[in-house]
Symmetry: C2
Subunit: 200 residues, 2 copies
């Protein structure tokens, strides 16, 4: 049994959202599981010196256009959120809390949170909205809110983000397959070949 | 007759090199010409605050690996140059000088310069090596050297780079089709659809 594909992402990343809509199906076509790993790009950027896309001269304007065109290219709906980027501690903590109990349901929650932010323009940076999205899936709202403020869950997210940085993760989405790193949804064509035909 | 596709690149950019090996054929499949436009990313980065890939924490290491894997993916030969990145005034000036006399031959020169740098590890940042590469195509070495130090040609390159920045060009390769910008060789799949099926 091959080890799972690692899928690193930040909930505030539009390209992470595109990746999230595609990675499970891509992996399944090649008999692989996916281990989802939300991280905090803000912490990563402190190490790399990178800045959020909207703050970058020229590239920021391009990114806005590229995100909308890429959504059409991949046939994934998107509505540019009115608040962008956002802090993503709340949804990331909710994910890890649920992931330890039910990884499949946690992946479902991850997708629902992405859609809430990138389709319905809901501000998932707030614990309340993250808990709302979880409760719409049948999870207990109070338990989700408790998890988001639980010191152990906070520490878990810090640990996952630090481990990702140690591994070299610097952006979202970032996929690792048997040690080979792929950055960006625009490397999914290379991932497809790597999984289908092996190392190249 | 549709207007030419604009292809902006820096001779020191590996992804620009990949783009250069593909853009003419891609455009020709859709009945389009390509206007090649070498620019100086160093001048662009002064505006955007971006830095060369090798200097970026985490991303620099990834880029080295991604460049070599992407070369294999696209079946384009590459040998990582021993000096990287380099200043590209000499090859860019030689290009514009020739382009005014013979655009088709200038495109040939552009490809030869890219191959000299990225396959044969020749340091095309020096006027001598750029002139050598041009003379191997039958151009007069002395004329090329004179062009590289000609104030009017220097001014031409400055003007082209400034105009590119005004247009929003922030990286290499950067392709503009009827006003629509595409950054990176990993957008060539979107370019293919745009040219084949029209705006999406």
């Amino acid at each position: 049994m091959p080890s799972p594909i690692e899928f690193y992402f930040d909930y505030s990343s539009p390209y992470g959202y595109f990746g999230a809509m595609k990675i499970d199906e891509l992996a399944a076509r090649h008999g692989r599981e996916v281990s989802w790993k939300p991280i905090l790009l803000g912490a990563v950027f402190k190490v790399t010196g990178a800045r959020p896309l909207p703050s970058l001269p020229l590239k920021g304007d391009y990114a806005r256009r590229d995100i909308e065109r890429s959504a059409r290219f991949h046939a994934i709906p998107i509505r540019h959120p009115s608040k962008f980027p956002i802090a993503t501690q709340a949804p990331a903590r909710a994910f890890y809390w649920l992931s330890d109990r039910d990884p499949a349901q946690a992946r479902q929650l991850a997708k629902s949170l992405f859609k809430a932010y990138f389709i319905d323009d809901r501000d998932i940076s707030t614990p309340d909205v993250t808990a709302d999205v979880a409760s719409e899936m049948g999870l207990a709202r109070d338990e989700v809110l408790a998890a988001i403020s639980d010191p152990a869950v906070k520490e878990r997210l810090r640990h996952e983000t630090d481990a990702a940085i140690k591994l070299g993760v610097f952006g979202s989405p970032y996929v690792v397959i048997d040690g080979e790193p792929f950055w960006g949804v625009d490397r999914f064509d290379q991932i497809e070949r790597w999984l289908g035909q092996g190392k190249f």
